[in-house]
Amino acid sequence: MANPLVTVEALYCERDERVLFSALSFTVAPGTAVQLRGPNGAGKTTLLRILAGLHRDYEGRVACPREALAYLGHRPALSGVLTAAQNLAHYLSLTAQGTPLAAISNALAEVGLAGFEDVPCQALSAGQQRRVSLARLPLLGDRAALWLLDEPFTALDDEGIALVSGLMAKQQARGGAVVFTTHQPLAPAPGLHTLWLGAPDPAAPVVASAHG
């Protein structure tokens, strides 16, 4: 089996004097998708932020390809007054300099927003804004081995959900991995694993494994 992309060992993290994880260990292999599940406040977002390197207040070992990841938080990270293309061009200047700007139109087309390049993001609906945010994923292509997606399905219609699932399947097919949160029950798919946080019932293990 290929080396895991993400290795978490004995992760311990508390927030506001509440233990979120203790002795949490798991790995994420290339070609898999891991859905983080658990009740509100279980630490799903915190775990994603720890993996991204945006939250450093933890103990344990976290190995993660920080230089090759895409993190989409629950906020779409778009400036409302700027157009979709301007927002994505800024993202490219941070992540993948030298990418031809034509790639932006292609990425927008891939999330079903062809022709929306020059529309200010505040004029878009919540679902369309989510799609612009998600256009970062096809924009980066295979440069991001690991996707960390916080509630990527929020505000999306059925077609949008299918679209994101398709993007994720593509990422898995090229040997990348996805770690994401959603409350939506997903149909079983190849390489899709579930990691329960804040164990929903006593039978579920606190320490989960997501081997491919």
Binding site: H74, P76, A77, H90, Y91, S93, Q97
Partner: protein, 227 residues
């Protein structure tokens, strides 16, 4: 490091586009500056003898308060939208994006203030001899105000009502700039050379330029990591 020019210009383009799309945001501090200065002759006295000694001080205090007014939103919106997260995540080293943002901010606030100063100086009966030295002092001093203010804005970015705290944090730091700036006018009016004081302001600007972006980048990273 190979990424650095791209980081600077990418951020510069974005922030310039942002500023051009909402000109009102930049116009507000300028309008404030203009208003304070127009109110002064009305409220104090239109007499040249009364206004002339106060003119440089009024220009500087108005410029300082206008800068302060413009600072609060410097990083707040980026944080609320989540753009700051992406910046901290991918924009390493963050100082280049910070520098770009502050450059755009100065071009939109400090530079117009400086360019308006000779005109408004005439309105305040600023002595002829002090007109250009004061303008030059503002050109050197307003970047210091923006750079120091940026540190305050970055430190208070997570606070809902950080405005007052921001003022308390940065106003004491503005005082040396104010004192140096006003003394340039005093020296010029007295017919003495102003070069030494202007050199101090220049040195201050250079020092602020090479140190504050690191402090701002650090404060923004902490704000993202604890937010």
């Amino acid at each position: 490091m190979a990424k650095a020019p791209g980081l600077f210009w990418g951020q510069f383009r974005r922030d310039a586009a942002l500023a051009l799309r909402q000109p009102g945001e930049l116009a507000n501090p300028l309008a404030f500056f203009l208003l304070v200065i127009t109110l002064f002759p009305l409220g104090v006295s239109p007499e040249t003898a009364v206004l002339a000694p106060l003119a440089a001080g009024v220009l500087w205090i108005a410029a300082l308060l206008a800068t302060l007014l413009s600072l609060e939103g410097l990083f707040r919106r980026d944080r609320d939208e989540g753009t700051l997260e992406q910046l901290v995540l991918h924009g390493d080293p963050l100082v280049f994006a910070v520098l770009a943002r502050l450059t755009v901010h100065w071009l939109g606030t400090g530079l117009p203030l400086t360019l308006l100063a000779p005109l408004l100086g005439a309105m305040l009966a600023l002595p002829e001899a002090a007109r250009w030295p004061v303008t030059l002092a503002l050109a050197l001093g307003t970047p210091i105000l923006v750079l120091l203010g940026g540190v305050g804005a970055a430190l208070t970015v997570s606070l809902r009502a950080g405005g007052v705290l921001l003022a308390l944090l940065v106003l004491p730091l503005f005082i040396p700039v104010l004192i140096l700036g006003v003394s340039v006018a005093e020296l010029a009016v007295a017919g003495l050379p102003t070069g030494a004081v202007l050199a101090w302001l220049g040195a201050g600007a250079a020092l602020a330029l090479v140190t504050t972006p690191f402090a701002i980048a650090g404060a923004l990273s902490i704000a993202v990591e604890t937010g």
